[in-house]
């Protein structure tokens, strides 16, 4: 394989990663990262900032009905 072909291969891999990001899939947080400064809603409808979870070991699992 020529250097040029390898370079094109590398560029293709990089391009695919860019495409994936462009499709909207954000990277997952990494160990050591702080809990994101975003909010949801508790079951009673009140705002629920995730930063309120500090102070305890906390497990967060994602899901939905379908």
């Amino acid at each position: 394989m020529t250097v040029t072909a390898r370079l094109f291969g590398l560029l293709a891999i990089l391009a695919s990663g860019v495409t994936l990001t462009a499709q909207g899939r954000a990277p997952m947080p990494s160990p050591g990262d702080p809990i994101p400064s975003v909010s949801g809603f508790s079951e009673d409808g009140s705002e629920f900032p995730l930063e309120h979870l500090k102070g305890h070991f906390t497990v967060i699992a994602f899901g939905c009905l379908t």
């Binding site: 947080p29 160990p31 702080p34 949801g40 305890h56 967060i60 994602f62 009905l65």
Partner: protein, 330 residues
């Protein structure tokens, strides 16, 4: 949905040790499954949580993601991911697919082992769930969806005096994203949380599209099928050809239909509007069985049968970080 019971066992064992657990209810990974469609409001998302609790029998509290899907985006857009934070709010471990067994190892290491491990069979979880349907289903044939359509951003009009009993889901050819020609699929789905059905004894659903200058849509209006059954809950789907002619403007859609709720004893005409933007909706999910579409993040590895909540029970640990991620118990 096999991971949920296992996660509930970890919750039963570690919540008493001060560990907090939350499910985050996110946008649907597979809209249209069991009739469910993406909610339009936080109230509707909270109604989904009630239904999820009824079906799953969970005790872990829920957090509803915002309608901007901020939590989903901040955590990487995975469908069934799982995260453990320490008391300082630093991430200890992240898994792109929930793995309650590996989570238990993480907690054993940091919080300590429990004397007696709760088993799934110790829990009083429902063994199945009843599907509530307001009327007959599978009486109207589904539209054969062309390959390669992507979900596009749909915004319900604010003029609505009633909930959107029927919700529009729109998908289009990628060629339309850059101003070209292509197909647009319109799907009107009755939202099961309202218990409403179509009234087939009156005029069927009607819609029309109002276009910006220069944009061509054919047909520009449509009428649903005549259905022999007096009522049903099947989607009403249509395919139209669009030529954007380089226009950047969105489409405006008006829909009229009759909805009935037998439990509440009403039947009435509803008129609602939508704006359809030529923008991919990254949070729209992907119906199972859809061909070639890439509008959401529902499918992993070609498996078409995973429900939205941790149903990948045969997957191995996939921790992306943390010292105990991916370990096997000896």
């Amino acid at each position: 949905m096999r991971n949920v019971p296992s996660l509930e066992t970890v919750y039963r064992d570690y919540s008493s040790k001060g560990v907090r657990f939350y499910y985050v209810y996110k946008a649907l990974a597979h809209p249209e499954m069991n009739g469910f469609v993406q909610p339009f409001s936080i109230e509707e998302r909270l109604a989904h949580i009630k239904e999820a609790k009824r079906r799953l029998g969970t005790e872990i509290p829920w957090i509803a993601d915002s309608m901007g899907n901020d939590i989903k985006h901040a955590f990487g857009d995975r469908n069934n991911s799982e995260f453990l934070f320490d008391p300082e709010g630093k991430l200890i471990s992240a898994r792109d697919w929930s793995d309650p067994e590996a989570l238990r190892w993480d907690l054993e290491e940091r919080v300590g082992k429990v004397d007696v491990i709760t088993r799934v069979q110790d829990l009083d979880l429902p063994s199945g769930f009843s599907q509530r349907r307001a009327a007959a289903s599978s009486v109207v044939p589904r539209l054969e969806t062309p390959a390669g359509l992507v979900a596009t951003k749909v915004t319900p009009g604010k003029e609505a005096t009633h909930p959107h009993y029927a919700k529009l889901r729109a998908e289009l050819d990628r060629s339309l994203l850059s101003g070209g020609k292509g197909q647009l699929k319109l799907g009107f789905h009755l939202d099961p949380i309202y218990g409403v059905h179509w009234n087939n004894l009156v005029d069927p659903i009607q819609w029309e599209i109002r276009t910006p200058d220069g944009v061509l849509v054919s047909p520009g209006q449509g009428v649903g099928p005549k259905v022999a059954a007096e009522s049903d809950v099947d989607p009403r789907e249509f395919l139209v050809e669009v030529d954007r002619c380089e226009s950047n403007g969105p489409l405006e859609l008006i829909v009229r239909y009759y909805g009935c709720n037998d439990e509440e004893g009403w039947c009435m005409p509803v008129t609602q509007s939508y704006t359809i933007d030529f923008v991919v909706d990254r949070d729209a999910g992907r119906p199972q069985g859809a061909r070639g579409a890439r509008g959401g993040f529902g499918r992993r590895g070609g498996s078409g049968n995973r429900a939205g909540f941790g149903s990948g029970g045969t997957r191995g640990p996939r921790a992306l970080g943390g010292p105990s991620g991916g370990r096997r118990r000896n």
